[in-house]
Subunit: 214 residues, 2 copies
DNA sequence: GTGCTTAGATAGTGCCGTTATCCAAGAAGG
DNA sequence: CCTTCTTGGATAACGGCACTATCTAAGCAC
């Protein structure tokens, strides 16, 4: 498969593929001679992964390169390779620890984790982007006058935990060992739009059930 | 409250506040004379809302303006204002109806709605952005070789429905009408980052429970 | 009255994903 | 053989967007 064909199969312009090659997001093709290179299915798969991260996951190019570095590093333990990818997903700006709302949000989130018994997540609070995002979002709610404390969060967290169990189950059944890392990344990235859309659909269903179409 | 004070109270720079005023995201202050304008608590609240939408919700400035336009349009009935604001939110690329993956995705999503008995949502399939988002997302999965059909979607949809019930319950506890509109907007915009963060935290918890930290 | 603030207007910045242009070397087809 | 296309490589430009900076004339506060 040549560059032009790779472009046609993936729907990505040759200019952009060249850009990704330059940026190290795609490994170079097998060089046949000075003006020809051969690409294969693996390149196509990697290209789709890159696109999913950039377009759907909104992961910056530099971060994608970093993540792929971990993914390809066979010396790292599996959970680290996976975690590296998940943690690269878009982040909210660092919480301002001096802000009083942020401090209260920290307390509420910590209380939530205690209530739920999420012992592992508790150990990750200093480094996990997900934890920080949650704090920022809860603080934003408080700042505009709504209390989204541990009691209100708990039922949501319970539902999200069940969702995560489904995720991991799916990962275990639907991917061969070799594919798991890439599948997990794609799953994490593509799953969220699905969940979001289902959530909004469910909101429409429930509000019309309660209030009708008006 | 003058511009500088508004800036101090909100933590937003005067230059940025001026930018928001220019863009129509904030109503102008009460003009005292040619060089002085007075801002009040309402401006502060609106500014916080705008910031939350932009920073936490990642809503583009132009979209924020549109949403606020609906919220402030007193000539519209409440339900319309709410719906208009909510539906203005997602910017989903139109699914390409000629694409074979999109066609299969349509079938799967319709099958899902039938299985779940979401009769109201079924009636909205032609206009609902959420429905279109779901189709696009499911098609994306199929395109990379993973089947995310109605059977796999169903348990997720069930969980999201319960989430939506929580949403609407929460909204109903805020009795005042003015609060409800704002809360609903916030629910739509800020709830999702909270859910997303909880989801990711739950994934971290569950994967470490199953596989440990190594 | 000196220095700071204001609204308003306009221009510039920085980031970042992408696209465009040019080149010399080679391949493909008739 | 000759023409046309493609390649990798290098460099520059583009476009969107959320700000940020600069300037001005007018007014306020000490």
């Amino acid at each position: 498969m040549r560059l032009a064909e790779l472009s046609r199969h993936s729907g990505v312009s040759t200019a952009t593929i060249k850009y990704y090659l330059r940026e190290g997001l795609l490994p170079p093709g097998r060089q046949i001679n000075a003006t020809t290179a051969e690409y294969d299915e693996e390149h196509l798969g990697r290209l789709r992964l890159v696109r999913a991260m950039i377009q759907v996951g909104r992961v910056p190019v530099a971060k994608v390169r970093e993540v792929l570095g971990h993914v390809d590093d066979d010396s790292l333990p599996r959970s680290i390779r996976l975690g590296a990818a998940l943690w690269a997903l878009p982040q909210v700006p660092e919480p301002d620890e001096d802000d009083e709302y942020v401090q209260v949000a920290h307390q509420e989130v910590d209380k939530l984790l205690d209530q739920l018994g999420w012992e592992n997540a508790k150990q990750l609070t200093t480094i996990s982007p997900a934890y920080r995002s949650l704090v920022v979002a809860v603080a934003a709610f408080r700042r505009i006058g709504y209390d989204f404390g541990a009691e209100l969060l708990a039922p949501y967290a319970e539902l999200m935990y069940r969702t995560a169990v489904l995720d991991v189950d799916n990962m275990e059944t639907y991917a061969s060992e070799a594919e798991r890392i890439e599948f997990a990344i794609l799953g994490a990235i593509l799953n969220e739009p699905v969940l979001q859309a289902l959530h909004r659909l469910a909101q429409e269903e429930e509000t019309t059930r309660r209030y009708g179409f008006e």
